[in-house]
């Protein structure tokens, strides 16, 4: 496995490295720490940051590589991510999730989530230990790939994992099946509804990906973004895993039609977010 950790010398970037250590990747994992200098004088700051991040990763070693680039941070990250065949890019979230006036996430993160086509992890409030992880699924075919890829990245963690789908549907007809709109995950799976079948398939995929801990399914009803955020807060999750950032091969104008749910969640989530 190959992980790219990006730093601008800030504390937020160190949080990204910290989160990577909490994910429990196998020992043979190769780490590249990428520092991007956007102005003269950054080099000293970046070198210090490299040292601190190496310490967090367990000290200098052959599996850790340092890289320093010059230019626009998001563009440099994209170039390196594409050239290095990485499995995950880790960044720190600048800004505050409850910010009103200022940006809720930094411009580099904002741009990176739109241009990167590999999983990206945005660290925020990283705890001592990952106790619980929430994986969200849209119950569509493309969500299955999110679960496969997400599952592979989470195999090393011992955290409790929950798989959530949010139904925001309302009935257009009086003869619509009402039970579907009241289902819990358990009843949906038992009754074999569309959502229940998807959750069941998701649990299988996560198990096949190598997650050994039991995964708990969850189904909520309401507005998607609000319900995911409510679940994140109520469940005290340490990491939110979502799909949906730019997918290679998808036509650009379809991206324009669809709402940016992952962007909204990333801005408002109180915990770290992994976008598959």
């Amino acid at each position: 496995m190959r992980i790219l950790i990006c730093t601008d010398g800030s504390f937020a970037a160190e949080q990204a490295a910290l989160l990577v250590t909490r994910l429990g990747f196998p020992e043979e994992t190769e780490y590249t720490v990428l520092g991007v200098s956007e102005s003269d004088g950054d080099q000293v700051v970046l070198t210090t940051a490299f040292d601190r991040i190496e310490q967090l990763l367990g000290g200098p070693g052959p599996s850790i590589q340092r890289l320093m680039r010059y230019g626009n941070a998001a563009d440099q990250i994209k170039d390196e991510a594409e050239a290095g065949n990485y499995d995950l890019v880790a960044l720190g979230a600048k800004g505050h999730p409850h910010g009103i006036i200022g940006p809720r996430i930094g411009s580099t993160v904002n741009k990176s989530i739109r241009i990167l086509t590999i999983p990206i992890c945005i660290a925020r409030s990283v705890p001592e230990k990952l106790e619980s992880i929430l994986i969200c699924t849209a119950a569509e075919d493309f969500s299955l790939e999110t679960l496969r890829a997400g599952g592979r990245l989470l195999t090393g963690t011992q955290a409790e994992i929950h798989l959530l789908h949010v139904m925001s549907q309302v009935a257009l007809r009086l003869d619509s099946p009402s039970a579907d709109l009241r289902d819990t995950a358990e009843t949906a799976i038992r009754r074999g509804t569309r959502e229940g079948r998807h959750l069941e398939r998701g649990l299988d995929l996560l198990e096949q990906a190598g997650i050994s801990n039991p995964v708990m399914p969850a189904l909520r009803h309401g507005l998607v973004v609000d319900e995911v955020l409510s679940e994140t807060v109520e469940g005290h999750y340490d990491l939110l895993v979502i799909g949906g950032h730019f997918q290679e091969g998808r036509i650009h104008w379809i991206e324009f039609l669809l709402d940016d749910v992952s962007g909204q969640l990333l801005k408002k989530s109180p915990c770290s977010v992994m976008i598959i």
């Binding site: 549907q169 309302v170 007809r173 009086l174 619509s176 009402s178 507005l223």
Partner: protein, 392 residues
């Protein structure tokens, strides 16, 4: 039998035409964005087009005749409307339009009638504007009533109220600022410049055709009788218009997954406006979404902007009515109505959509949580127009 949760317009017969597919439809990757031509041979297509054209001519003729009859019938009814029903202020006109649309279960005939009242000098421009707005507020009342009956009969609230209640609340929540903007605009001298100014009296060219018929009818009937006849014909012509609907197959378009995927609000807003511009009715426009999902579901994130868009272009038929009356003031009233709805919609969409969406969602949940809440909401929906009519 299929029951629908909304019906706020001239469209009951059209609703019955909707079918439910037996299976989830596949979405092709290669289909165009919206419309798909009807399949079949060229001969069949030509016959179909000819039939629709014929129906269009008949519908529009009956629509014009109905407008003239309502206008002529309204003149002797002016004292009754202004003194007996107290429709002598914008507030009372709002209540009158609201109650009338609730009673006749449709908004379009009431809006067209309001324009005929303006043309007959029974109502002022402000009062007409308020009555047209009232027609929108009352049009969806049936949705609530049917939902309530189903709740009383033991059906689950989630299904009985569903999208219908969302639709109703979107309209109701937007109309206070719409009314304020509309009255402000109508008071501006520059708005009057929108009107086409004529040097002499303006007559609809169709007056030439219908004047002898009106003269014949008034020779045998009391003039006020023309009003109910015209009103009935308005309904009939709008029903005929429904049969002219183009065949839209949203399920085969990129936008056919509104029941699954979350689209940007501005996308579903444009979709709602575009489809309703063709169907001229919010309820028919919504009915086109039904076949998209086997279960008849739609994402609430998608339906709110869809209805906002539909609420603008649903005035198409009212605008046509204003044009057919050849009354510049009537055209201005309808245009101001459409502009006001657009301003409020765009402000919500661009500045506060997430908050608005959350507010509506909470409101729908609170109303649907208990029968008592629902009953109170129905009483308010009925009571407010009465209060406006009596005390306005």
């Amino acid at each position: 039998m299929i029951h629908f949760l909304w019906s706020d317009d001239n469209s009951y017969p059209a609703l019955a035409r909707c079918s439910i597919p037996d299976h989830e439809r596949d979405i092709s990757d290669t289909v165009p964005l919206l419309a798909k031509p009807v399949r079949g041979s060229y001969g069949a297509l030509a016959r179909r087009i000819a039939a629709k054209l014929g129906l269009f001519v008949v519908s529009i003729s009956i629509f014009i005749l109905a407008l003239i009859l309502v206008k002529e019938g309204a003149k002797p009814l002016a004292p009754l409307i202004r003194e007996r029903f107290s429709v002598d202020s914008p507030a009372s006109a709002l209540g009158f339009g609201w109650l009338s649309a609730s009673m006749v279960l449709s908004g379009s005939p009431i809006a067209a009638t309001a324009l005929a009242f303006l043309d007959a000098r029974v109502l002022s421009a402000n009062e007409t504007f308020a009555m047209v707005a009232g027609s929108r507020l009352g049009a969806s009342f049936i949705v609530l009533l049917v939902g309530f009956v189903y709740v009383l009969r033991g059906r689950q609230r989630e299904v009985s109220l569903g999208a219908g209640l969302v639709s109703l609340l979107v309209t109701q929540s937007m109309y206070i600022p719409i009314l304020a903007i509309g009255f402000f605009l109508l008071a501006q001298p520059w708005v009057q410049q929108w009107q086409i100014q004529a040097e002499g009296a303006v007559h609809s060219p169709l007056d030439v055709v219908f004047d002898p018929l009106i003269a014949f009818l008034t020779g045998y009937l009391p003039p006020w009788v023309l009003f109910p006849i015209g009103f009935g014909l308005l309904f009939f012509s709008l029903w005929l218009f429904d049969h002219l609907l183009p065949d839209l197959h949203l399920e085969e378009s990129r936008l056919g997954q509104v029941h699954h995927l979350l689209y940007r609000p501005v996308v579903t807003f444009a979709l709602g406006a575009g489809i309703t511009a063709l169907t001229m009715s919010v309820s028919v426009s919504l009915s086109l979404l039904v076949p998209l999902s086997t279960r008849g579901y739609i994402r609430r994130e998608n339906i709110i902007p869809y209805i906002m868009g539909a609420n603008i272009t649903t005035f198409d038929d009212t605008l046509i009515a204003a044009a057919l009356l050849a009354n510049p003031a009537a055209v201005t009233v309808v245009l101001v109505q459409m502009v006001s709805v657009t301003i409020v919609s765009m402000f919500i969409l661009l500045a506060m959509f997430r908050h608005y969406e959350r507010f509506l969602n909470r409101l729908v949940s609170n109303i649907g949580r208990r029968r008592r809440n629902l009953a109170m909401y129905i009483l308010l929906t009925l009571g407010i127009p009465f209060i406006l009519l009596i005390f306005g």
